[in-house]
Symmetry: C2
Subunit: 109 residues, 2 copies
């Protein structure tokens, strides 16, 4: 089917999955790492940095923007993208809580 049955899961489970999904492609990981490395960034840089075509990068940027993890402001003919600090921190809290659960002490298997 290709369609996840989101309605049978909790909001938190869906939220975690949405964040994880956007990190589930190396191009988006690469974009984010690049945005962390240099404070300011235009899309053209990313197209050169990463090997993908301009529409592809633009599409990945859109997904990151839709989740609020990055923001872009128009600057002349180019667009300046950067990490959305507040939303990133909020996402981080959610993901850390999921990743950092206490491991069971007993060896079960």
């Amino acid at each position: 089917m290709g369609l996840a049955k989101t309605e049978m899961f909790t909001d938190l489970q869906n939220e975690i999955a949405l964040y994880a999904k956007v990190f589930g492609h190396p191009a988006r990981v690469s974009i984010l790492q690049h945005l962390f490395k240099i404070d300011t960034c235009v899309c053209g840089d990313l197209v050169n940095e990463i090997g993908l075509a301009q529409p592809t990068i633009s599409q990945h940027l859109k997904e990151l923007k839709n989740l609020g993890l990055i923001q872009g402001t128009v600057e002349g003919t180019s667009v300046c993208y950067c990490i959305h600090k507040e939303n990133w921190t909020q996402m981080k809290e959610v993901m850390l809580k999921f990743l950092d659960q206490d491991l069971p002490k007993s060896d079960c298997c």
Copy 2:
């Protein structure tokens, strides 16, 4: 195309993306949360806990197992699944390093 061009990214970027991808579905998030909550677990429990059909759960479990995040040992007719502590810790380190990068101090946009 649907095919990620993994060869143009670093091993780390691909590793992060692979981990993230497996967390990118609420059913797998739910399975993991359940495995954290109770130390020991058989698949049947999960089918009841989550609303999906048995083959679907089995498939999700397989993906988690392929990445090494869970382990399953046969116990009579049922299978006991649980978190693979060592691999989970290792994955956590990789993901934390990615999520916990220093946010740029200057406001760029």
